[in-house]
Amino acid sequence: MEGLERYRDIVPDFELFVESMARPLPVTARINTLKTDRNRLLSRLTESKVSFRPFSWYDLGLELDVEKPGNLIENLMGHIHVQEEISMVSPIVLDPKPKERVLDMCAAPGSKTTQIASMMENRGLLVANDPANTRVASLRSNCERAGAINVVVTRYDGRRFPSTKFDRVLVDAPCTGQGMARKDITVLDRWSLKRSLGLQRLQRALLKRATDLVKPGGVIVYSTCTFAPEENEAVVSWVAERVPQVSLEKVSVEGLESSPGLTEWDGSRFGDEMEKCARYYPHKNDAGGFFVAKLIKE
């Protein structure tokens, strides 16, 4: 847990934060409205004697009292998608609409992609991009099971994604994944400043490219599942500085507890604007850890 010590001064209730890392994540899923609706699904689960607890903050999210949710028949039918609670935040902040053109730049394995597809009601265009050959198979399979017919899968390096214009772009960037420690504790030992800084170069280039691809008036959401400011505020502020047409908008999801983004870290000033970003800590929502920024292009 050594990697966490550096966050002592920025995380509220730090001891509780560290303790929470040892607790496994609840099993959670999202109701797929492309194939069912909330009432139908909930009554099916009740009839099957599967215990569940709906999220307080999101009516399509559920905590399930099963060991292997992947073995539920509702999963086979694509009526639910097993997905970590906090990761449902980025599509909600992105707020895609039916008939829009949307890019999910780092899409595999497709949890957020299928959530976006359902928010778009299977209309318009959703480009699900991921360069990794090995990850594209799971991305395609998840999109098909979800019944997403508005998704095309591409395999570009996001930094060089071809010039096309989108209404909204999600950059759910590759990261050191510290926020997923409750799922896999070894991510904490694998963290190093060097890894964060290596990823930072990629993250900056991805987000920078996203600002080229979004139409005037369009929205970009940048998210990671790590706590490292090097991969979060240091990325967003770097891009905001270089692309004057973008400005930050406050991220706030009702019912979830978040902390504001950092205005400085380790001697670097990010600026007061960064307070508009949201940091989600595992002990505050009994979920994973997450960072979300929302940028609007003039």
Partner: protein, 165 residues
């Protein structure tokens, strides 16, 4: 024409919607209006269903979802296509009991009496579509993709659902 547009020329060729819809109507009684907002494309031996009448100018690995396989003598609907549109079917549908559904989701074949024509059928359980089956001479063979099949634990979920208890 620029080189890049040549390079991106899509391997997906458009199909006549009415033709695909007619196929689904004649076999399953699904009204053609169900596909009003869907465009169909063919690539190799697969027909894909996609939301837009034009494929974006990108190198696409897939567009929408695989809808039919036209490998065999008769076009075969994918499980995913039937999960999405099969609830509108009025014929060649089979609703399974809990025990039968358990075998079906495990990928098995089973003897079964059903009032259907031989060929591909919409298989459902408790009113919701499980996927595609092949019914021939009194035997139903599950066509679920291998990676979707559920053994043991899944079967337990299925048989403890109140239908049998």
């Amino acid at each position: 024409m620029s080189q890049s547009s040549l390079k991106n020329r899509s391997p997906f060729s458009p199909l006549d919607r009415a033709e695909v819809a007619e196929l689904m109507e004649s076999r399953f009684g699904i009204p053609p209006a169900a596909f009003e907002d869907v465009s169909f494309y063919r690539k190799g031996r697969n027909v894909w269903a996609f939301s837009l009448p034009e494929i974006p100018d990108l190198r696409c690995e897939s567009v929408g979802l695989r809808f039919l396989s036209v490998r065999g003598r008769v076009p075969k609907p994918t499980t995913y296509a039937l999960q999405l549109f099969g609830n509108l079917a009025t014929k060649n549908t089979v609703d399974l009991s809990a025990d039968e559904a358990e075998k079906f989701i495990a990928g098995d074949r089973q003897r079964l009496e059903a009032e259907v024509e031989d060929g591909y059928v919409v298989v459902s359980y408790r009113g919701e579509v499980l996927g595609c089956g092949l019914y021939v001479r009194g035997e139903l063979a599950s066509q679920l993709p291998k990676e979707r099949r559920i053994m043991n634990e899944g079967a337990k979920t299925c048989s403890s659902d109140g239908d049998v208890e």
